[in-house]
Amino acid sequence: MSEASANAVVEIRCTVNAEPRAFRAYPMARLLDVLRGELQLTGTKEGCGEGECGACAILLDGELANSCLVPALHADGAAIITIEGIAGGDQLHAVQQAFLECGGAQCGICTPGMVLAAVNLLERHPNPDDAQIREGLAGNLCRCTGYMRIFEAVVQACRASGVHR
């Protein structure tokens, strides 16, 4: 009998926001659906379902990924950070605080993915120039802000974390 006949759920073990999690999922299930469904982490949003808008962005093993394009199987053994894992309790991350102060969030639906993209950008470029900011956020679409307040928030977050010179 072909090995291809058995479509079964598989056990996935990973860490989500630094906590070990185990769940069962169909291997092709979208990680986005698993996060929002089984794990009830609804901060990760769906905007397009085709990897274009970035609303579903997460950090997967430290790298930005669109969770709508990640099959659940690829979460096995991975370290996942979602928007829920960015703030330290009530203490907002510098990027989140800057989004509040600079008007980086309007309707808020792109904000979780945008915050993760900005956090990831600052990990790669602690003091990014304008071109690096624009490039680092180009996979996250925002229809409200025209991005200007978001750019400002990224710069402000650098300043707040003392990196910006």
């Binding site: 291997p27 990640v70 690829h74 679409l141």
Partner: protein, 284 residues
């Protein structure tokens, strides 16, 4: 939600050998699945026809960039991010790095792989034109052995590749040592980031004064596959001027009208890009 994950199988063999064994015992049943940036889009849209996939994502041996004195070898599962951050590639094969940096956003670059991009065989893919002008060689593996072929022979028709169902892409190899040529990569999408190309142009020439000693010209989105423009190249090497070259190019491409652009636009822009490139290379 347009596809039901229960109807799909995605299985992750632990080793390359196990993966090759699977595709050799059940050819055509299993299709390779790399970063998922193309396949998951089709999945969500309800357009993924195939149902059984082998995830190669965790096969570390297939990921990475290595170099010896002669070649740079890029594993099939090397991501765009890996490519654009690699200093040898940046230095010696900048067109490939540029193609990688203009493919999707950061999230896509972190998951999209060179092998996946090639196997997906989209005529609008960004890295193939760069690979074509670098005379890349593709390395295929199967349970029964390995083979290499010029990458220029890999794409045989719209979404068709010369690869057997029991084969996997192992790596892409680039010949080193031809630095200091004039080269150019230009992706024309409607916007600057996150675009699907309407015309993708890559070229390199070696000139001696205003004579062309060697020319490589490749284009995406202007034919059923990415193409090398051999006639145009030969003419340039034979002393053709810019006007003659762009005329020949017209005969080598077969663009279409679709929802992204028009055949007229693609034709004109392909010609213009060649013209601009040759002009900047000092030709007339």
């Amino acid at each position: 939600m347009r596809s039901d994950p229960r109807e799909f199988q995605l299985s992750a063999p632990a080793t390359i050998e196990a993966a090759l064994d699977r595709v050799s015992r059940e050819p055509r049943v299993w299709q390779p699945f790399a970063g998922g940036t193309d396949l998951m889009v089709l999945f969500e849209a309800g357009k993924l026809q195939h149902k059984h996939f082998l995830s190669l994502w965790r096969l570390r041996e297939l990921r990475g960039i290595s170099a010896d004195s002669q070649f740079v070898t890029i594993g099939a599962l090397t991501t765009y991010s890996d490519i654009l951050r690699n200093s040898i590639l940046q230095d010696e094969f900048p067109l490939l790095c540029q193609a990688a940096s203009e493919t999707g956003g950061i999230a896509t670059q972190n998951r999209g792989t060179l092998g996946g991009n090639i196997a997906n065989a989209s005529p609008a893919a960004d890295s193939p034109p760069a690979l074509l002008v670098y005379d890349a060689e593709i390395h295929l593996i199967s349970a029964s052995g390995t083979r290499r072929m010029p990458y220029s022979e890999f794409h045989t028709g719209y979404k068709k590749v010369s690869m057997r169902p029991d084969e996997l892409i192992h790596s892409i190899r680039l010949l080193r040592g031809s630095k200091n040529l004039r080269e150019c990569f230009r992706k024309v999408g409607t916007r600057r980031a996150q675009a699907i190309s309407k015309v993708c142009f890559a070229a390199r020439v070696e000139t001696n004064g205003n004579r062309v000693r060697a020319a490589r010209i490749a284009l995406g989105s202007v034919a059923p596959t990415v193409i090398r423009c051999y006639k145009t190249e030969a003419a340039l090497q034979g002393g053709a001027n810019i006007a003659e070259a762009t005329n020949l190019l017209y005969g080598e491409i077969t663009p279409i009208d679709d929802m992204r652009s028009t055949a007229r636009y693609r034709t004109r822009v392909a010609q213009n890009l060649l013209e601009q490139f040759l002009r900047e290379a000092g030709l007339r």
